[in-house]
């Protein structure tokens, strides 16, 4: 792998940028690997990277049925934050934020991580109480979060309408200054490039069609559209398709898959300095470095694998955005799309071993997995390498749905996800 640097840019500028070359190989699958990761999204690629970097396991293949980063990694709204309520969540999501801060240097790839701040707005007394509780819980856990008055919120985000006559009056906001955005494609590409440089095989257009098991029930490999590939350990990181893949090993999951939509506007000059979320009326907005407003809608109500959703769901979000930010009421929306998110009953992920020896799963990120990409990959790599969870993901088991030790961010957020 050729390192990116200021010197390299200057050198390439001298020769019409013809020397950059291919950033990662496109290898034929070998007959077997030590570890196979199913799914080359951000989480899967990060897992492969940390397996190689932290644990010295480089005989790894990442199998992808489509193209790299073409699922939810390329479909999300790129928001990064860690202001969740519970201790387990603080541990996991803040681990991710800490890794985000050094990620561009670590990968030698600019992921355009921008800590512009994430502001969650309160529109009623209930919101105020819930967010203040979050602020206190976060600060006790060492997670950055602070309470703003409406005036302070307006100062931080000038397009905000805080007038008393507003349909959704702003009663305050919780601000996480360390939150922000990153370039989603660059995250997938950066991890792919850095993992491939350490010997990981990234195999695209290779759909897993079966999981093979030995006499003791242990995993022996996977059947794919490009033939059988053996492996001692298999990690499933298939997001919305996790239930489908796990069924190949006869494991039922506490998951349901829903469409989640997002959309972008025409690009405009910089006008929106931070990320704003309003859970109560469901507005979710930021501006990309390209200038588009990036807007996240809610999930559709029915389970689906169609990667598309209903127009009324998008409309609902735009209604709210036009009320809170009247300056955007005449913006044209350019594109909308859907991804399939796998949702657990408590809205916290599962990063764990499974009842099948050698089979591991990292799923259930629901509507908010992008923010956790580095942390998720880091602890999942540990779980696979050591055949035991990292301290940070100890609680994120499947067994919690039997023991009752849920990590109930669904109830904590008090909104529909």
């Amino acid at each position: 792998m050729r390192r990116f640097s200021g010197f390299a840019v200057a050198r390439e500028a001298m020769r019409a940028h013809k020397g950059w070359g291919q950033q990662w190989d496109n290898p034929e699958p070998k007959s077997s690997y030590d570890v196979i990761i199913i799914g080359a999204g951000g989480h899967g690629l990060a897992t492969a990277y940390y397996l190689a970097k932290e644990h010295g396991i480089t005989n790894v293949a990442v199998l992808e049925k489509g193209w790299l980063g073409g699922g939810n990694t390329g479909r999300n709204t790129t928001i990064i934050r860690s202001n969740y309520l519970f201790d387990e969540s603080a541990g996991l999501y803040n681990h991710a934020v800490n890794l985000w801060e050094g990620l561009s240097q670590d990968l030698n790839y600019n992921v355009m991580f921008s800590q512009r701040g994430v502001m969650m707005m309160a529109h009623n007394v209930h919101d105020v109480q819930v967010f203040k509780r979050h602020v206190h819980a976060n600060r006790l856990n060492g997670v950055d979060n602070e309470w703003l008055t409406p005036e302070q919120a307006k100062a931080y985000c000038p397009p905000l309408d805080i007038s008393k006559s507003a349909r959704y009056p702003v009663m305050g906001a919780a601000l996480q200054r360390k939150g922000g955005t990153a370039r989603h494609d660059a995250v997938a590409w950066g991890y792919a490039r850095a993992a491939a440089a350490r010997g990981v095989h990234i195999i695209q257009n290779c759909e897993v069609t079966g999981i093979k098991r030995g006499q003791g029930g242990e995993v022996t490999g996977v059947e794919t559209s490009r033939g059988f590939i053996g492996a001692k350990k298999v990690g499933v990181v298939a997001a919305g398709n996790t239930s489908h893949v796990m069924q190949m090993a006869d494991v039922q999951m506490p998951l349901e898959s829903f469409p989640l939509q997002a959309l972008v506007s025409e690009p405009v000059k910089p006008c929106f300095p931070c990320v704003v979320m309003s859970n109560t009326v469901h507005a979710y907005i930021s501006q990309s470095d390209k200038g588009e407003l990036v807007i996240g809608a809610g999930t559709d109500q029915y389970t689906s694998y169609s990667q598309t959703g209903g127009l009324h769901v998008i409309q609902h979000t735009l209604d709210a955005i036009c009320e809170i930010f009247p300056i955007f009421s005449r913006m044209k929306m350019l594109r909308s799309w859907g991804g399939i998110v796998d949702v657990t009953p408590d809205r916290s992920p599962i990063i764990a071993q499974t009842p099948v020896p050698g089979l591991y799963v990292n799923c259930g990120w629901g509507t908010g997995g992008f923010k956790a990409t580095p942390g998720s990959g880091h602890v999942f790599a540990h779980t696979i390498a050591k055949a035991a969870p990292h301290k940070i993901n100890e609680g994120y088991t499947m067994e919690r749905f039997t023991t009752g030790r849920l990590i109930d961010e669904a109830a904590a957020a008090a909104v529909s996800h």
Binding site: N241, S243, H244, Q252, M253, P254, L255, E256, S257, Q301, Y302, T303, S304, Y305, S306, T308, G310, L311, H312, D342, P345, F401, T402, T403
Partner: protein
């Protein structure tokens, strides 16, 4: 937006009149006290989440207000049929054949 046929109203209506109510044909045990933790967990949390034809409940919340069941393909989002609550699961092979024949004719 989906168009959904309510078997009670005998009308096809827009999705916004309905509330999705999860996987269908999950029976609540009549002996909840006798259920093991694993049994309760399966009943309460675990779902097939089928990629393909799924059976699901809907409620015509802004209409007759009643629950009914539907068979729907979760890849195409097309409904195969809807039927009243309490009726047995329709024969899947027949439904898919009917759809294919209908498609061939049209």
């Amino acid at each position: 937006m989906l168009l959904i046929h309510c078997p009670y109203c005998a009308e096809e209506r827009p999705e916004t009149e309905f509330a999705h109510a999860g996987e269908a044909h999950i029976e609540r045990s009549t002996e909840m006290n006798a259920l093991t933790d694993e049994g309760f967990s399966k009943f309460f949390f675990y779902r097939d989440n089928t990629k393909g034809t799924t059976f699901e409940r809907w409620r015509h919340i802004h209409g007759c207000g009643r629950y009914f069941n539907a068979a729907r393909d979760t890849v195409s989002d097309k409904f195969l049929t809807t039927y009243k609550a309490g009726e047995p699961k329709p024969d899947l092979s027949k439904l898919v054949d009917d759809q294919t024949n209908a498609g061939a004719k049209s």
